[in-house]
C-alpha cells in the first residue's frame, strides 16, 4: 500500500476538476449529469484515500513547502469535511439541474461548469484548512472566493441571483482588501507571515503589540465576513437567498467551516492578549442576538436558513472565545449534517412548490418522508437531545460554563429559545397547516438515499458521538 501524503489529495482534486472541465468543453453532446456522477465518484475515491493519510504536523522550523502547509489531525479532518460536503452538494446540484437549465434556454451548455467549479472550491478549501502561513491563507482564500463568485451568480438570468452575485463580489473583495492590509501590518510589525514564527515574534517584548493587534483586527474583519459574524454579516441574507440553493448550502457549510478553522489557527498567536478576548466576546454576543432576532419574522425558508447560519456562527464563536477547538469542530460536523439535510429537502420541495415557509404547508401529507427528514433537520438545528445539534450545543455550553462566560451563557440560553420558535415554525407548517397544493412529491433514488443517510447520521451522532470524538482527539 503506497503511502499517500496530504498534498496529493488536493492535487488529485484539482486534476479531477480540470478533467471534468475538459470533458465538458470537448464532449458537448453528453448528458451533463454524467459529469456530476463522475465528480462524485472521483471525490468519493479521494475521500476514502484521505483516511489513509497519516497526519503529519509540520515541524516548527520547517522551510519550503512545509513552512506554509501542515497536515495535522485538524486539517485532515477538515479536508474530509470539505470532500464530504462537496459530494453532498454535488448530489443536491443534480437535483437542482433542471432549474439551472431553465436559466440557459435554448442551449445545452452551461451546466457542465456548474458541476466542475465545485472541484476547485473544494481544493481551495482543502488548502485553506492546511494553511499556516498568512500568504498561503490569502491565496487559498482567493481560490475559494473566486470559485464562489462564479457559483453564486450562476443562474444569471434571474435578477435576484445577479444582485446576490454582485453583493458577494463587492463585499468579498472589500474583505479581502482588509485581509491583505492586516497581513501587511502584521508582517510590518513582526517580519513574519508564518503563524508559528509569528507567535515567537509576539512573545518577544520588543515587538509593538498594539500595531500587531491592529493588523489582527483587520484580519478578523476579513474572517468575520467569511464566517458571517456581526457586524460583517450584511451580505448573508441576500446572497444566500439569491444564489442557487446548492451553492447556498455549500457556502453555508463548507465556507463557514473553513473560515472557522482559519480563525482558530490565526487566533492562536494572539489568544493571550486580553483585548482580542473582549473583542471576540462582543462579536459573539452581537452575532447571537442579531442572527436569532432577525430570523424570527422570516417567511422565506432560504432567508431563514441564512439568518440561522449567522446564529450558528454565534454559537461557534462562543466555542472560539473559550478556545475549545474540539467543541467547535464537533459543532461544525453536526452543522454539516443538519444544514445539508435541511437544504436537500428544501431543494426538492422548492422545485415543486416554492421556497416560502407557507409552501411547506401540509408536507406531512404530500411526502411523509421529506416531512420527517425536515423535522429531524429542524430539531437538530434547534438543539433537541438525541440529535447531533444538541451535542454540539452541549459541548459549546460546557466550554462556556468551564470558563464562566456569564454573558455568553445568558444570551445563549435566550437565543436557544428564539431558535425553537423559528425552527418550529417550519415544523408547524409541515404538520399543522394543510396546504393548498396536495399532490405527492416524488423523490428520486439517489436523493432518498442521501437524505436517509443524513437523517441517520444526525440521530447517530446525537446518540453515539464517540467515533467523532475519537477522530477529533488525533
Amino acid at each position: 500500500m503506497m503511502r499517500i501524503t496530504a498534498p496529493e489529495l488536493e492535487i488529485a482534486v484539482l486534476v479531477l476538476g480540470m478533467v471534468i472541465l475538459m470533458v465538458e468543453a470537448f464532449a458537448a453532446k453528453i448528458d451533463k449529469r454524467i459529469l456530476a456522477f463522475a465528480a462524485i465518484a472521483g471525490l468519493g475515491i479521494i475521500l476514502i484515500a484521505s483516511f489513509l493519510v497519516a497526519p503529519y504536523a509540520s515541524p516548527n522550523q520547517a522551510t519550503g513547502f512545509w513552512s506554509f502547509y501542515t497536515a495535522d489531525g485538524l486539517s485532515i479532518f477538515f479536508k474530509q469535511f470539505a470532500l464530504l460536503s462537496t459530494i453532498l452538494v454535488l448530489i443536491m446540484m443534480i437535483d437542482y439541474a433542471p432549474v439551472v437549465r431553465r436559466s440557459f434556454p435554448g442551449t445545452r451548455n452551461g451546466l457542465g461548469e456548474f458541476f466542475a467549479v465545485p472541484m476547485f472550491t473544494c481544493a481551495g478549501l482543502m488548502y485553506l484548512v492546511s494553511a499556516i502561513d498568512f500568504v498561503f491563507i490569502f491565496v487559498s482564500l482567493e481560490l475559494v472566493t473566486i470559485s464562489f463568485y462564479v457559483l453564486v451568480s450562476f443562474t444569471r438570468r434571474n435578477p435576484l441571483t445577479l444582485e446576490a452575485g454582485t453583493k458577494y463580489l463587492v463585499l468579498s473583495a472589500l474583505s479581502t482588501a482588509f485581509l491583505v492590509y492586516g497581513i501587511a501590518w502584521i508582517f510590518g510589525v513582526t517580519g513574519q507571515t508564518n503563524l508559528h514564527w509569528l507567535t515567537e515574534a509576539l512573545a518577544n517584548p520588543a515587538t509593538d503589540r498594539s500595531a500587531a493587534l491592529l493588523g489582527m483586527v483587520f484580519v478578523l474583519v476579513a474572517l468575520g465576513f467569511k464566517i458571517a459574524a456581526v457586524p460583517f454579516q450584511i451580505w448573508v441574507p441576500d446572497v444566500y437567498q439569491g444564489a442557487p440553493t446548492p451553492v447556498t448550502a455549500y457556502l453555508s457549510v463548507a465556507s463557514k467551516a473553513a473560515g472557522f478553522v482559519v480563525l482558530l489557527r490565526v487566533l492562536l498567536p494572539f489568544v493571550t492578549l486580553p483585548p482580542i478576548q473582549r473583542l471576540l466576546v462582543l462579536i459573539a454576543l452581537l452575532t447571537l442576538i442579531y442572527g436569532n432576532l432577525a430570523a424570527l419574522p422570516q417567511t422565506n425558508l432560504k432567508r431563514l436558513l441564512a439568518y440561522s447560519s449567522i446564529a450558528h456562527a454565534g454559537y461557534l464563536l462562543i466555542g472560539v472565545v473559550c478556545f475549545d477547538a474540539r467543541a467547535v469542530t464537533f459543532y461544525l460536523a453536526a452543522y454539516l449534517l443538519m444544514t445539508l439535510l435541511s437544504f436537500a429537502v428544501l431543494i426538492i420541495v422548492a422545485q415543486q412548490t416554492g421556497e416560502e415557509i407557507s409552501d411547506f404547508d401540509g408536507l406531512a401529507k404530500r411526502s411523509p418522508f421529506l416531512a420527517f427528514a425536515m423535522l429531524i433537520g429542524m430539531l437538530s438545528l434547534a438543539g433537541l437531545p438525541f440529535t447531533a445539534g444538541f451535542l454540539g450545543k452541549f459541548f459549546i455550553f460546557y466550554a462556556a460554563v468551564l470558563q464562566r462566560q456569564m454573558a455568553l451563557l445568558v444570551v445563549g440560553v435566550i437565543t436557544v429559545g428564539c431558535g425553537f420558535y423559528y425552527y418550529l415554525k417550519v415544523v408547524r407548517a409541515m404538520y399543522w397547516q394543510s396546504g393548498v397544493n396536495t399532490d405527492k412529491i416524488s423523490v428520486n433514488g439517489l436523493s432518498r438515499l442521501t437524505i436517509s443517510a443524513l437523517v441517520i447520521g444526525t440521530i447517530w451522532l446525537g446518540v453515539y458521538p464517540q467515533p467523532i470524538l475519537d477522530a477529533l482527539q488525533r
Partner: protein
C-alpha cells in the same frame, strides 16, 4: 425489564408512524408497559436502597457517559404513575378524526420520554428523555387542541425549552464541580462524590439555584407558571393528562433525585426563597383559580397550585416531608389525570366548559359525575384518597423539620399558609363540582349520554388506585422510604439538624414514646437482652392485619428493634441489635411514627 418499559412505548410509536393500526397498537403497548411496571413492583426488593435492575451501555468512556437505567423506590413509584396514566390517557383518546396515527405516536413518545427520564440513572439521558416529550406536546396542542391552541403551543414549547436549557447549564455546572478524576454522568457516582464532600458549598449554592430555576420552570413554580394553565386548557384531554400528571413530575423528581441529595448546602441556602415562591404558588395561584369561570382553566391553574404542596415537602428536606412529597406526586398525577379525562369527555359532548353553561349533568351522566367527584375530593385532600396521605406527611414534615430563622420558624408559617391553601382548593374544587354536575339541568344537555362502558375501566383504574393508596398509603411509603433514609442520613448535616431539633423536643419525645408502651431504657440496666426484648416488646413489633396485604412481600419474621432513649435523651437503638442501615428489615416497613421519631 426496565428497558422494555422504556422502549415499548417508543417502539410502538415508531410502528404507528410507519402504519400500524393506531389505537390497537397504542392500547397494546400501554397495557404491556403497565403490566411490566406491575411486575417491577411485585419483584421489587424493599430492603435494598440502591438501584435495582441496573443495565448499562457505555457511550463515551472519556466523559463517563453511559446509557444506564435502573429503578429504586422513588423511580418505581414514578414509573407506576407514568404507566397508569399512559394507559388511562390512551384509552380515553378515543377516535381521532384527523391524523390518528400521529396523535397516538405523539402520546406514546411523551409516555416513553417520561418513563425513560424516570428510569435513567445517567444524568445525560435523564435530561434527554424529558426533551423527547417536548415536540410531541407541541404537536398535540397545536394540531388537536382547542381554544387558543396556537399561542398555547408556542408558549409551552419555548418556555419549557428555555427552562430545559437552564437546567442543562445547572447539570453541566454540577458535572464540572466534581474534581476531574471522579467526574461522571452516573447519578450513583455523583452521589458518592457528594457524600465524600467533593462539591464545595459555594458551588452547591450556584448549582442549586440553577437547578431550582430550571426545574421550577418545568414544574410551573410561582413566577414561571404562566405557561401551564393556557397549555392545559387548550390541550386535548389525553395530552393534558400525560403532561400535568406525569411530565410535570419530572421536575420534582429531578429535585428529589439531584438537588436534595447532592446539594444539601445549596438546599438549605435557598430554602427560604423556595418557600416564598411556593407560597406564591399556593396562595396567589390558588386565589386565581377561584376566579376562573371555565373548567379547563380551573383545572390548569389547580395543577399549578398543587405543585406548591409538593415543593413544601421537598423544601423541608426531612424524611417525613420528602416522603409526603413523593406520595403526593403519585397521588396528584392520578387525580389530575382523572379530572382532565372527565373534563375532556364533557368538552367533547357539550362543546363548552364554561361553568355557567353547564349544570346538573349528574342527572344524565351519573358515572362521570361519580368519577369527577372522586377526583375532586382527591384533589381537595379528603382522607381515604391518596392525596391525603401525601399532604398530611408534608404538613407534619415541614412543620417539624424546617429551619429556624431568628425567632421565626419560617416553615411553620409556611405550613399554616399552605393549610389555607387546602381551604382554597376545597372552595374551587367543590364549586366546580357543584356547578358542573349538580344544580338544575340545562335544557341543552338533556340528551347527553354517559361514559360508555369501555371508558369506565380506565376511570375505575384511576379511582381504584387513588382509593387503594388512600387507605393503604403504607404500600407507597414503604417503597420510597429506604431510598430517602439513605441519602438523608448520608447527609450528616441534615441528620444533625434533625437530631438537634429532635433533641430539643426530646422530653416530649420521651413522653410520646413512653405513652406508646415503651419505657426509656437505661444503659446501666442489668437485665439480659432477652428479658429486655420481652419487656420492651411494644406495639411496633406486633404484626397488624394490614401487613398481610396480598401482593406485598412475605413478611420476614424479623423483630424490629424497639426505639429507646439513652441517657442523653436522644433516640438510639439499644446494644446488641444490629442497626438497619443497608439491610433494612423486610418487615412491615416504616410507619409514620417510626419515621418521625428516628
Amino acid at each position: 425489564m426496565v428497558l422494555f418499559t422504556i422502549f415499548c412505548p417508543i417502539i410502538a410509536a415508531i410502528l404507528i408512524m410507519v402504519g400500524a393500526p393506531a389505537r390497537k397498537t397504542a392500547l397494546a403497548a400501554s397495557v404491556l408497559t403497565f403490566a411490566a411496571a406491575l411486575f417491577l413492583l411485585t419483584s421489587f426488593d424493599y430492603g435494598q436502597h440502591n438501584f435495582q435492575r441496573v443495565t448499562s451501555f457505555t457511550i463515551s468512556p472519556e466523559w463517563r457517559l453511559s446509557f444506564t437505567t435502573g429503578i429504586d423506590g422513588l423511580s418505581l413509584v414514578m414509573l407506576l404513575l407514568a404507566t397508569i396514566v399512559t394507559l388511562a390517557a390512551v384509552w380515553f383518546a378515543g377516535i381521532i378524526e384527523r391524523y390518528e396515527n400521529a396523535f397516538y405516536a405523539c402520546l406514546l413518545f411523551i409516555s416513553g420520554g417520561a418513563i425513560g427520564a424516570f428510569a435513567s440513572i445517567d444524568l445525560f439521558f435523564f435530561y434527554a428523555f424529558h426533551e423527547l416529550a417536548l415536540i410531541p406536546t407541541f404537536l398535540l396542542i397545536g394540531i388537536w387542541g382547542s381554544g387558543n391552541r396556537v399561542a398555547a403551543a408556542w408558549k409551552i414549547t419555548i418556555y419549557l425549552a428555555i427552562g430545559s436549557f437552564i437546567l442543562l447549564l445547572g447539570l453541566i455546572l454540577l458535572y464540572q464541580s466534581i474534581p476531574a478524576a471522579s467526574r461522571s454522568f452516573d447519578i450513583r457516582a455523583l452521589q458518592a462524590a457528594a457524600s465524600a464532600g467533593q462539591i464545595t458549598a459555594d458551588a452547591q449554592r450556584h448549582i442549586y439555584l440553577l437547578l431550582l430555576i430550571g426545574l421550577g420552570i418545568l414544574v410551573s413554580l410561582f413566577p414561571f407558571h404562566t405557561w401551564a394553565p393556557e397549555a392545559y386548557a387548550s390541550a386535548p384531554a389525553p395530552a393534558a393528562m400525560l403532561h400535568a400528571g406525569v411530565l410535570k413530575k419530572f421536575g420534582l423528581y429531578g429535585l428529589l433525585r439531584l438537588a436534595i441529595p447532592l446539594l444539601p448546602e445549596g438546599a438549605r441556602h435557598w430554602a427560604n426563597l423556595l418557600v416564598i415562591l411556593l407560597l406564591g404558588n399556593i396562595i396567589y395561584v390558588g386565589l386565581v383559580t377561584i376566579a376562573q369561570k371555565r373548567l379547563d382553566w380551573m383545572l390548569g391553574y389547580s395543577s399549578v397550585m398543587h405543585m406548591g404542596y409538593i415543593f413544601l415537602g421537598i423544601a423541608s428536606a426531612g424524611i417525613l416531608g420528602v416522603t409526603g412529597a413523593a406520595v403526593l406526586m403519585f397521588a396528584h398525577g392520578l387525580s389530575i389525570a382523572l379530572l382532565f379525562a372527565i373534563a375532556g369527555e364533557l368538552r367533547q359532548r357539550t362543546g363548552t366548559l364554561v361553568f355557567d353553561e353547564l349544570g346538573g349533568l349528574g342527572r344524565v351522566m351519573p358515572f362521570a359525575g361519580l368519577a369527577f367527584g372522586f377526583g375532586v375530593f382527591a384533589a381537595v385532600g379528603l382522607p381515604g384518597l391518596a392525596n391525603f396521605a401525601g399532604e398530611i406527611m408534608i404538613f407534619f414534615g415541614s412543620f417539624k423539620n424546617g429551619w429556624v430563622m431568628g425567632r421565626f420558624h419560617i416553615f411553620q408559617i409556611a405550613t399554616v399558609l399552605t393549610l389555607w391553601g387546602v381551604v382554597i382548593s376545597t372552595v374551587y374544587m367543590l364549586r366546580a363540582y357543584r356547578k358542573t354536575f349538580m344544580g338544575t339541568l340545562n335544557e341543552k344537555w338533556k340528551e347527553l349520554v354517559d361514559l360508555r362502558p369501555t371508558l369506565r375501566l380506565p376511570v375505575a383504574l384511576l379511582v381504584g388506585a387513588l382509593l387503594c393508596y388512600g387507605f393503604f398509603p403504607q404500600s407507597l411509603v414503604r417503597i420510597v422510604v429506604p431510598k430517602f433514609r439513605t441519602y438523608l442520613t448520608a447527609n450528616r448535616h441534615l441528620t444533625d439538624t434533625e437530631c438537634r431539633s429532635h433533641g430539643a423536643v426530646s422530653a416530649t419525645g420521651a413522653e410520646f414514646i413512653a405513652s406508646l408502651g415503651q419505657p426509656p431504657q437505661d444503659s446501666r440496666d442489668k437485665k439480659t437482652p432477652a428479658l429486655k426484648a420481652r419487656l420492651t416488646e411494644s406495639r411496633f413489633q406486633r404484626s397488624y392485619w394490614y401487613d398481610r396485604i396480598p401482593g406485598a412481600l412475605p413478611q420476614a419474621h424479623v423483630r424490629k428493634a424497639p426505639l429507646a432513649l439513652n441517657s442523653h435523651g436522644t433516640v438510639r437503638r439499644p446494644h446488641g441489635v444490629t442497626p438497619d442501615e443497608g439491610n433494612a428489615p423486610q418487615g412491615r416497613g416504616y410507619n409514620i411514627c417510626e419515621i418521625a421519631c428516628r
